[in-house]
């Protein structure tokens, strides 16, 4: 286990924030995001390993820059996620030292609960004026 991996779930505080990119089509008229943003890519199945970035190890700009420029950015609080019964695991990769995984989403309800606690940090460029 390298030094980065030594940060385990206990060291991620309830007050820590996580970033999650979302496609512009996930944005609802009321400014919230749809639960479909937490489905496994290419499917309509809840994602059991939801990729997020730990805010203290990155920036919103860096997180957005790692994908297509059309994406927006959502933000979740770790404590809110844990209270719902999900876990947050630190899972850095060579290209992303901030990478974490939210584990435990099994149903559309789970995805909906996560979408509800997601605050939009940065609107997608195409929707910034709405």
């Amino acid at each position: 286990m390298n030094k980065e991996q030594e940060i385990d779930v206990d060291q991620i505080s309830d007050d820590d924030l996580l970033y999650r990119r979302f496609h512009p089509i996930s944005l609802r008229r009321d400014g919230s995001i749809t639960y479909a943003a937490y489905m496994r890519p290419k499917t309509t199945i809840p994602d059991p390993e939801i990729s997020v970035n730990l805010a203290i190890k990155t920036t919103p700009e860096e997180t957005l820059a790692a994908a297509s420029p059309i994406f927006g950015l959502g933000m979740l609080k770790v404590g809110d996620i844990r209270r719902m019964g999900f876990t947050v695991r630190y899972s850095p990769s060579r290209g992303n030292k901030a990478h974490c995984i939210i584990e435990g989403a099994k149903t559309e309800k789970d995805c909906h609960l996560l979408a509800e606690i997601t605050q939009v940090h940065t609107f997608p460029p195409s929707r910034s004026n709405t």
Binding site: R29, D30, T34, K42, A67, S68, E108, K109, H112
Partner: protein, 172 residues
């Protein structure tokens, strides 16, 4: 509330749908459950035109539109979604204009279309599947116990009844 909802989702629905607003190039197949049809006529000036324009844009999406390998929207799902929007507009639009307006009309990575109505405490997300069937996630948290209902294949009447519940609960 349920009776009110029922009154808008049952009854004679045997008039002819005047045709799709959205181009449908794919093979013609039928939805798994019988669906109500619409009377012909000019589309009213309302959210419906915007929603159908959105569907037109969605229909043009190609493979990998989400950059994560999504399938392009199925023409059958587009057709089903446009018919659902037209029916909701026709049945509920005059009585609850704002609330009958969907929160989102969006493609799904499997080629389906998702349409959502309502906000907390009562919401529904309906998905027109690539095969032409309808499914939904219904959420009702008005009482002490939250109700989450996930259905992968539902009838048109069931879906319309739940949309009515959402629209007329939110509009109260």
């Amino acid at each position: 509330m349920l009776a009110f909802a029922n009154s808008y989702t049952s009854g004679a629905l045997n008039t002819q749908f005047s045709g799709s607003v959205v181009a449908t190039a794919g093979p013609k197949t039928h939805a798994a459950t019988p669906k109500p049809t619409l009377t012909s006529g000019t589309l009213p000036e309302s959210w419906i035109q915007r929603a159908l324009d959105q569907l037109d844009d969605i229909a043009k999406l190609g493979p990998d539109w989400d950059s994560y390998g999504a399938d392009p929207p199925s023409s059958l799902a587009i057709t089903i979604a446009s018919e659902l929007l037209l029916i909701v507009n026709q049945k509920f639009g005059k009585l609850a204009y704002e609330e009958s307006q969907p929160q989102i009309v969006a493609p799904r990575p499997d080629g389906g279309i998702q349409i959502e109505w309502g906000t907390r405490p009562v919401e529904i997300a309906v998905h027109a599947n690539p095969s032409g069937s309808l499914g939904y996630l219904y959420i009702n948290r008005q009482g002490d116990i939250s109700e989450y209902k996930e259905v992968s294949s539902a009838s048109w009447s069931e879906v319309l009844q739940l949309i009515a519940k959402v629209v007329f609960t939110v509009s109260r």
